[in-house]
């Protein structure tokens, strides 16, 4: 890992979260073109970019690790139902634990260690001072149920989809940093149902194609796609459950503070077939960067100006940007004089 975990910073109240110059450089900037439109933007999740890039490993552990794990604990302590697993997802939860532990131990051996002797597993997480021995497949031997146990040690939100009748169902997950959607609300829904609120994409057949692709995914060939939105302040937990805490912050953006207050929120979403349960694991790894920090890269600032300026109205509305979208465009226009 190029970017070692920093001291704990906050994603609420005093918002001390910040990106180091190295973290800015490796930020997964999501706009390959001057116009952004929904598409079936799925590609094999194989390493990409130079050493240390956000796509170097299956899971990306970065300088915000400790901060995000602290934030996750705050959310779960206050709202335990932000993590749930229906009974029939037990095996899928163990699949997920196995996949995450083996890839962490392989890619970040300085921090994580997994020792397997038959069904006796020993897991060491040096960043969080965790050292446990348990029986694989037996939840009573872990301090917490498997999904919660491993989910609290990996950056990103998680969903486990049960596959039935050529469809996917949101039957388990841990979601503490969503871009305005609720796991408790979506639990048990099918692929098209939980995507119900998304504008435009349904008519274009995007979800139909994506679902066909997902249900045919094979073990050992993960894929990824990027999604993005904007967030006011470096707030991880923008959930419907806590809307009263953050919804009003959208009115606090002014032309003077837009550069530091508005963050580009990028989700690197990884999908991977689970071998034992045939479930699909869905990881939503969220990255935040302020517009000011984006502006340190003139190419990004210029590109983002163009994508924001040409963003279709239904997307502005759906992503909740109405209040401050024009201020974002105005701010970014200084980096794109020709447009």
């Amino acid at each position: 890992m190029r970017v070692a975990p920093k001291e704990v910073e906050t994603f609420r109240d005093d918002f001390t979260y910040s990106n180091s110059p190295e973290a800015i450089k490796r930020f997964p900037f999501p706009f390959p073109e001057d116009e952004y439109r929904y598409s079936v933007n799925m590609e094999p999740h194989t390493p990409k970019g130079r050493e240390g890039s956000a796509y170097e490993h299956f899971l990306d552990i970065d300088e915000h690790y400790l901060s995000e794990m602290t934030e996750r604990k705050l959310v779960l302590d206050a709202m335990p139902h932000r993590c749930l697993a229906m009974d029939h997802m037990e095996l899928a939860c163990w699949d997920m634990l196995e996949r995450l532990m083996t890839s962490l131990a392989e890619d970040y051996s300085d921090y994580f260690k997994l020792t397997i002797e038959g069904d006796q597993w020993t897991w060491e997480n040096k960043l969080l001072n965790i050292h446990d021995t348990f029986t694989f497949g037996d939840s009573s031997t872990l301090p917490k149920p498997p999904l919660e146990y491993i989910g609290c040690q990996v950056q990103g939100d998680f969903a486990l989809l049960d596959q039935r009748d050529g469809d996917l169902f949101l039957d388990a997950g841990m979601v503490t940093c969503p871009a305005d959607w609720s796991l408790a609300f979506d639990a048990g829904m099918s692929f098209k149902e939980w995507h119900g609120p998304v504008p435009m994409a349904h008519n274009e057949g995007i979800f139909e194609r994506a679902l066909k692709y997902l249900t045919a995914m094979q073990v050992g060939s993960p894929i990824r796609r990027l999604n993005w939105t904007l967030t006011v302040n470096a707030r991880m937990d923008t959930s419907p459950e806590t809307y009263h805490e953050w919804g009003h912050e959208r009115t606090s953006v002014t032309p003077e503070n837009v550069g530091e207050k508005v963050y580009l929120r990028v989700e690197v979403q990884v999908m991977d077939r689970m071998p034992r349960s045939n479930a699909l694991m869905f990881i939503i790894r969220t990255y935040l960067i302020s517009l000011e920090d984006i502006a340190t890269n003139p190419e990004w600032a210029k590109r983002m100006h163009r994508t924001m300026k040409t963003l279709p109205a239904p997307l502005i509305e759906y992503k909740g940007l109405n209040r401050y979208h024009s201020m974002v465009v105005d701010y970014l226009s200084q980096f794109d004089p020709a447009n």
């Binding site: 029939h88 699949d95 049960d162 596959q163 039935r164 009748d165 194609r209 066909k212 692709y213 045919a216 094979q218 073990v219 050992g220 060939s221 077939r273 689970m274 071998p275 034992r276 349960s277 045939n278």
Partner: protein, 315 residues
């Protein structure tokens, strides 16, 4: 496929008059764990051509040291099963795909009713250990002809006791499917693996009884129906690829070193879709929508063919 796994045939045994079981062990990598109902695609490099057939994994999914498959010798075989029966010896190496699953149990079912016909018992061999672990309510109804099939019937009967029901049509015991279905409690899901005739019989019975289609799950690994030979022309290179009556279009393309992404090789996954520039299509897949089929612009070469003598592919 680049993600193929190299395995060695560790043992072979005759499990019924026309069925052989092969135990496969990994050579370099470890084998993936797999889920109940999963299958692998086995590549068989015969002298004439490379056959690729899908076979259900029939071992306990918890055992990741080896895979077992069972192959029935098909009289009207396209050659794959003959190759497995006559050519493959202990110690041979084969290439297989990672396991995938198009026939997973519906775990929310109140009860699982499995109907197996002949070698169609194989996917249930991986269902049963997991159902036992979960204490699921299930029954296996196994229809076979003891002069040909009936693999594992004794061990299944012993292991499952009153959950097991065998029907040997060579001894004139038959399963009354309508009667059986009519006795099932609400919330039962029905799984069928076997010949098309069995699947049809169950589907008709279900319809008569008013059972929703959503509780019926079937898996049929029928070889593609034979077709007429035709020529596929590659637009970009002008290359003419001859597709014989026995080969699928996908196989013929591969034999000419034209690789097309593919996964299921059975017309369901959508990976192999190709654009058709010219020629009528005999659509045999379940992937394209009716509208897409009617438009006649795309083809799934793993199962579909030309309706005429020539197709021009835009690849």
């Amino acid at each position: 496929m680049s993600n193929q796994i190299k395995v060695e045939v560790a043992s072979i045994c005759q499990v019924a008059p026309t069925i052989r079981e092969f135990t496969l062990e990994a050579i370099d990598d470890e084998l993936y764990p797999f889920s109940p109902g999963a299958h692998v695609v086995v590549e068989m490099p015969s002298a004439k051509k490379i056959y690729k057939n899908a076979y259900s994994l029939l071992s306990d999914p918890a055992d990741t040291n080896r895979y077992r498959i069972a192959v029935r010798l098909q009289e009207a075989s396209r050659g794959g099963s003959i190759y497995m029966h006559e050519q493959v010896k202990v110690g041979d190496q084969l290439l297989i795909s990672p396991p995938s699953n198009l026939f997973s149990p519906f775990w929310l079912a109140k009860k699982h009713l499995m109907l197996a016909g002949g070698v169609g018992v194989t996917p249930f061999m991986s269902y049963i250990p997991e159902m036992l672990r979960r204490n699921a309510d299930f029954e296996l109804h196994y229809m076979y002809r003891s002069l040909q099939t009936g693999a594992y019937k004794n061990e299944l009967s012993e292991q499952l006791g009153d959950k097991y029901f065998g029907y040997d049509s060579d001894r004139h015991t038959r399963c009354d499917v309508t009667e059986l279905l009519s006795q099932q409690p609400l919330g039962t899901h029905i799984y069928i693996c076997g010949p098309e005739s069995l699947i049809q019989a169950v589907e008709e019975a279900a319809q008569t009884l008013g059972l929703p289609a959503s509780v019926i799950h079937s898996e049929e690994f029928a070889a593609p129906k034979p077709g007429m030979p035709f020529i596929a022309e590659i637009k970009s290179s002008g290359q003419q690829v001859e597709v014989s009556a026995e080969d699928s279009l996908l196989e013929a393309l591969e034999a000419s070193d034209i690789s097309v992404p593919n996964l299921c090789r059975g017309g369901v996954c959508g990976q192999c879709v190709c654009t058709v520039e010219e020629g009528d299509i005999d659509h045999r897949d379940q992937y394209l929508s009716d509208d897409e089929k009617a438009a006649g612009k795309t083809i799934m070469p793993c199962v579909s063919r030309a309706a005429g003598e020539r197709l021009v592919l835009d690849i």
